[in-house]
């Protein structure tokens, strides 16, 4: 089994704050869906931003597909890692298609893209990605007019067009009702299989985590408390939740 991402003793503190991540070590297997669960404020978002190369860890090492993450620019990382923040990071004033096309910016030059010109192949690929997420009929609609679930599909399509090997998504599908969440996560699964993408997602709903995660990591107080495919942890958590 190959490793998509490996973190070794990673510490992180926001400036003038106590450490949020404390000696986090984890291994993300390639081609799988890893879900990170944990109570609010425990550091999931922070961990994902560190793993995506957006925040620099204060200590520890991270490797992505066996190469060190440190010292590489976002542009260099863009062919490896896609990142979807909790609020999705879509530009509301632009159309769904334009948002998806942004996934290709990392491999296109300034000259053409600043004029708004994208190669035909990229536009076709963008429609393909939207289609895969079942939203191509709304490609010309402003994101502003789209529903929450539709926006999630657009965000995934943008990441698909980026063609990274690893996608890191924060609290994905968290605000959706279960039926919709299942549908979208199902589409993500088939897209991931087709394009050989590894997924890391944070989630707080046990039902979704169990259904979607091949691996589930539990996090508490800035540390991974159980680094395994723990159904046991999930059982106790769902018992707590229903109690």
């Amino acid at each position: 089994m190959t490793t998509a991402l490996h973190a070794q003793q990673v510490w992180f503190a926001y400036p003038r704050h106590e450490p949020v991540l404390r000696a986090v070590s984890l291994t993300i297997p390639a081609g799988k869906h890893t879900v990170i669960m944990g109570p609010s404020g425990t550091g999931k978002t922070t961990l994902l931003r560190v793993l995506a190369g957006i925040l620099k860890p204060s200590r520890g090492t991270i490797t992505v597909f066996d190469e060190p993450l440190a010292g590489r620019s976002q542009r260099q990382l863009s062919s490896l890692i896609g990142y979807i923040p909790q609020q999705l990071g879509l530009v509301r004033n632009l159309s769904a298609l334009d948002n998806v096309l942004m996934g290709a910016l990392g491999r296109l030059g300034d000259a053409q893209t600043l004029l708004g010109i994208f190669p035909r192949a990229e536009i076709d690929a963008a429609h393909g990605a939207l289609d895969m997420m079942g939203i191509d009929h709304k490609s010309d609609e402003q994101v502003f007019h789209l529903s929450g679930g539709e926006r999630q599909r657009v965000a995934i399509a943008r990441t698909l067009l980026q063609r990274p090997r690893l996608v890191i998504a924060d609290e994905f599908a968290s605000d959706l009702d279960l039926v919709l969440a299942y549908e979208i996560l199902g589409r993500i699964r088939s897209a991931a299989e087709k394009n050989h993408i590894t997924f890391i997602m944070s989630m707080h709903r046990i039902g979704l985590a169990r259904k979607f995660g091949d691996e589930v990591l539990a996090m508490e107080n800035g540390a991974i408390v159980q680094g395994f495919i723990g159904n046991e942890y999930l059982e106790t958590k769902s018992a707590e939740a229903s109690a």
Partner: protein
């Protein structure tokens, strides 16, 4: 004393002292002023409409100057404000850009007009450049602050697609702030139309020259016609910008 109590007290004391110093408590002068206002108003009616063609031509020149000056200033302000966006560029560069904008802004539009009268001679061209200069200083600051307020999550997300700084500006920052960009430039156009009606005082073209002549010759009935024209154009501008706002900004109302 607690500062929460002390600060308003100081402000009130300073206000009272300033007003006294400026003569606001001089009742004699104030009553005289009100009486004179009545006389001036009386001398302004009825407005002398025979000068309408002359005034309208001068007004049109003012509108042209304001429009061209605002547009030129807007075009120059965009790159300057991008450079002044602190979360995009190194601190020294954005500080430099902001310093340039602040220096331009320090000089009032009337002084800019004088500078350009010296540089390019009397006439509306000087006024146009004066308006453009002032507009750069103002918009560059407003826009830089606006750009800095762009939702960092969106910037992070698009940065992680490998987008360059210019691509970020083109695809995230400008679209996200488009409404405010348009609203500010419309505000600036309105402001410049009013401001440029005095630029003629220094020989920089437009309506100001006409206003100055009627003021100096105490020709208040003709002055009234000119002021009515200014009022009309400001109202037209109001309507126009309301329409533009509706036309282009409606799609994002209720965010």
């Amino acid at each position: 004393m607690r500062p929460s109590f002390f600060v308003p007290l100081m402000v009130a004391a300073f206000l009272a002292a300033s007003l006294a110093h400026l003569g606001l408590f001089d009742w004699q002068r104030l009553t005289r002023g009100v009486r004179n206002l009545g006389i001036l108003g009386g001398e302004m009616v009825p407005p002398d409409l025979t000068i309408l063609p002359t005034a309208a031509a001068a007004l049109w020149e003012t509108v042209e100057m304001s429009f061209a000056g605002t547009l030129l200033g807007f075009i120059a302000a965009l790159p300057l404000s991008v450079l002044g966006t602190r979360n995009l560029f190194a601190n020294w560069l954005s500080s430099l850009a902001r310093f340039v904008a602040a220096s331009i802004r320090t000089i009032p539009v009337l002084l800019w007009a004088i500078v350009f009268v010296i540089l390019v001679g009397l006439g509306p061209l000087a006024g146009t450049f004066g308006i453009a200069a002032y507009t750069v200083g103002y918009l560059a600051k407003i826009y830089a602050d606006l750009f800095e307020g762009t939702d960092p999550e969106i910037i992070e997300a698009v940065q992680s697609t490998g987008a360059s700084k210019l691509q970020l500006v083109r695809y995230v920052i400008v679209p996200e702030t488009a409404n405010a960009i348009l609203a500010q430039v419309l505000f600036m156009l309105e402001y410049n139309i009013r401001a440029s009606s005095v630029l003629g005082f220094v020989g920089a073209g437009g309506l100001g020259l006409v206003i100055q002549i009627y003021l100096q010759s105490l020709d208040y009935r003709r002055l009234a016609t000119v002021l009515l024209l200014v009022l009309a154009i400001v109202l037209v501008m109001d309507g126009l910008s309301a329409w533009l706002r509706k036309r282009f900004l409606l799609s994002t109302q209720g965010t």
